[in-house]
């Protein structure tokens, strides 16, 4: 399904409007990618995120295992992180009432993602990634909500970044069903913060594994 060198092409064209035009000129109307980017218009030129990998079929998730197992374990690591984050936030006592309920609900959904992904990895004969030790700065309700929104927006972008790399249809279906839930969480948190529900505009932007892992590095302590 996935064409090996396409992600790096997308990376180049989405981050550079000049090469985007060049690609359009070179490929003419032959690729859906060109059409899609052309249709997106100026939105594409303002992107800061990039697609997974750097060519040669790399997904950036190889350290977690081969192929779909690696992608699932990468997702599992992010879900562990989100679950631990929400658990810490609930314990922090910074939230009450409906905000606390929302946080509890999101946390329990992330925990369900952990369970499902763990089962999926095992079923495919892989070894589930270990639960990372985490630590989050929990200073004020506002800073926690901002961190939550950052984590969820990043999580949604992470799933989107891996979707084209997934080989198995069932794995893809599962990833998509989680991806849109992360998108819902992100939009709800953005709403609580009074920020745009669609910060990327009409087309959500993907994030590559390297970028995502670098962003969450400060929260992983072992």
């Amino acid at each position: 399904m996935a064409v090996a060198n396409k992600p790096s092409a997308l990376e180049r064209v989405t981050s550079d409007p000049v090469s985007r035009r060049k690609l359009l000129a070179v490929t003419g109307g032959s690729t859906a990618l060109a059409a899609f980017l052309a249709a997106c218009g100026s939105d594409s030129s303002s992107t800061t995120t990039t697609m997974a990998g750097s060519g040669g079929g790399k997904t950036g998730t190889e350290q977690f295992g081969k192929g779909d197992v690696g992608i699932l374990n990468y997702a599992l690591t992010l879900e562990y992180l989100e679950t631990a984050f929400y658990a810490d936030v609930v314990k922090s006592g910074l939230f009450k009432g409906s905000d606390l309920e929302t946080i509890r609900k999101f946390g329990s959904e992330e925990a369900e993602h952990v369970t499902a992904l763990t089962g999926f990895v095992k079923q495919m004969g892989g070894k589930p990634a270990p639960k990372p030790k985490t630590k989050f700065p929990l200073k004020s309700a506002k800073s926690v909500l901002e961190l939550a929104a950052t984590v969820e927006n990043l999580g949604a972008a992470a799933y989107l970044g891996q979707a084209p790399n997934i080989k198995g249809a069932s794995v893809l279906a599962a990833a998509l069903s989680i991806h849109s839930v992360e998108g819902r969480h992100a939009a709800a948190l953005n709403t609580l913060l009074g920020e745009s529900i669609t910060p990327d505009g009409a087309f959500a932007k993907p994030a590559g594994a390297d970028e995502v892992l670098k962003s969450v590095e400060p929260f992983i302590v072992g």
């Binding site: 279906a173 998108g183 939009a187």
Partner: protein
């Protein structure tokens, strides 16, 4: 594309049957349309079968045209809502934002279909039976949640990675819309840990009452 049997009951709702490749998509759509005909009468379903046939194109173009139909529906719905929903404040801004996004989706899908050498489906005429803000919000929630499930259901059948990437970037935005609309309805923005997937036939059946 290979398929695995899911051991996770949580994921049962999102399992897509990809083993039945002997049944073509067009047959599935037609079956849905004909089933609807059996229920509502053949005359009522006549144009619907025609549309299903128009959509019964091969592969990605067919899926993109299916998506385009849904985006036309949403786009028209929000355009009308600017006056019909009698919204003010945050909801008014939300309607404008969502409407603009859906319009951009229509444009992107139309262009992509053309570039793939396909023919974009014609914009259907719609009829949205609701009144007032609460009527609008109820229908909006249905459309956005259905939209998410429609993309999630269709995406695993997409062949080209670029088209999948595009569909993914749209479905995430639909999910964001759904969450925001649900919050307006004082409902859970993310009611389930796994968004369900819907088949094309089920989606088409769900939106058929709104196609005039």
């Amino acid at each position: 594309m290979s398929d695995q049997i899911l051991a996770q009951p949580e994921l049962a709702a999102v399992h897509i049957d990809t083993d039945s490749e002997d049944i073509s998509r067009s047959e599935v759509i037609l079956k849905g349309a004909l089933a609807a005909g059996a229920v509502y009468g053949a005359l009522a379903v006549g144009p619907f079968v025609g549309r299903a046939l128009a959509m019964a194109e091969s592969g990605d173009v067919g899926i993109l045209n299916f998506a385009l139909t849904l985006e036309y529906l949403e786009s028209t719905f929000y355009e009308e809502a600017k006056t019909r929903a009698k919204a003010s404040g945050d909801l008014k801004s939300l309607i404008e934002l969502v409407g603009r996004d859906e319009e951009e989706h229509v444009g992107a899908l139309t262009e992509t279909i053309k570039k793939l050498g396909g023919k974009p489906v014609a914009e259907p005429k719609f009829d949205f039976p609701y009144s007032g803000t609460s009527g609008f919000l109820k229908l909006a929630q249905t459309f956005e949640d259905t939209g998410v499930s429609a993309y999630n259901g269709a995406a695993p059948q997409i062949k080209a990675a670029e088209v999948l990437e595009a569909a993914g970037s749209i479905v995430q935005v639909e999910a964001r819309h759904a969450a925001a609309i649900r919050l307006q309805n004082k409902e859970e923005p993310a009611p389930e840990a796994f968004d369900p997937a819907l088949t094309e036939a089920k989606v088409l059946k769900a939106v058929e009452p709104f196609i005039a």
